[in-house]
Symmetry: C2
Subunit: 193 residues, 2 copies
């Protein structure tokens, strides 16, 4: 989503940190992180322990407790991730925030699609546009996400996601290129009509 | 959401404009609006004409085509509204954007509540906190929203919203103070546990 908009090009290397898959980024009220490479998700959970994904984020995205009123709030690495600390008072992350507003609106819009299979298809198209590459009329993207994470992002059950991904493949709407890579044609997406 | 954070206190009066209920704010790629008073919603619609609400906004909120990648995109006044044009290049609307990111996350979180009545209750609590006033342990708020707008905001049918509002009243979770005003106790809200 923010591929071409990395606001910080001259960050001190001492502010960089590498994180492993599933690791949680350190958090404090004054700390902001910006992703350099990798994929993460912000999450919360209910008192019954059910995880709710609040967003999926790639290079350029900014996080921090101060960007969310929702508690509990964690940022979990989906892939190995490099991020750097962002001084809370420095200005030039406006573009990232504009992108983030836009991104949240799109995810909110996808959540309003009632029919589960259509919602999943919209989400896959969104993923492809955000994190994939366009070749001819197809988007290629590496699906780093488990079916569980997809389910927690768009409010479905894991078994439903697994069943429907199979269905979309059979219908030719989604094509498996390798174990984790897919290609998809987002031509009919609701958000990109 | 942005009540105490109006970034602009010294805007030329020539930039102010009043809008009527249901009027649409003028739009262009370089134009941003900030609400001074009143309530608005950003909307899109499907090719079948079904309206999807993208967000509800009060004083301090900023809009514009450049904040959304979703097309079509309109901002419609729910109440009479006063707004002023914001120069696209001027800086100090960062706080408003931080609030907007947070706000979108909350709406997205509410959309993940599967059970329709619980989702409606979460949304009412959110409305109360955003636009209401707290007295003792109750939030008082004027529900300027039609049942149709509520339905279009949280992905339900209008008849479902009408039936469930009646149910919540009967259960004592929601209390009608006047024709449009309600009081509610958001103590058990998912977003504010």
């Amino acid at each position: 989503m923010l591929k071409s908009r990395l606001a910080y090009q001259t960050v001190s290397t001492s502010l960089y940190r590498d994180f492993r898959r599933r690791e949680t980024l350190p958090s404090s009220p004054d700390l902001l992180w910006q992703i350099e490479s990798g994929l993460a998700r912000s999450i919360t959970w209910t008192d019954k322990g059910k995880i709710v994904t609040l967003g999926l984020w790639g290079p350029g995205s900014i996080f921090g407790e101060s960007l969310s009123l929702i508690r509990p709030y964690d940022v979990e690495c989906i892939t190995p991730l490099t991020a750097f600390m962002l001084p809370r008072d420095s200005g030039p992350y406006l573009e990232s925030l504009l992108d983030r507003v836009s991104c949240m609106q799109q995810l909110y819009c996808i959540m309003q699609v009632k029919h589960a299979k259509s919602r999943l298809m919209e989400f896959l198209c969104w993923l492809a546009r955000q994190f994939g590459r366009l070749e001819a009329e197809w988007y290629y993207f590496d699906l780093h996400l488990s079916h569980q994470i997809i389910a927690e992002t768009i409010g479905l059950e894991r078994v439903t996601v697994t069943r429907m991904l199979g269905g979309l493949e059979q219908e030719g709407l989604l094509e498996r290129v390798s174990k984790t890579a897919f290609k998809i044609s987002p031509a009919k997406s609701f958000l990109n009509p």
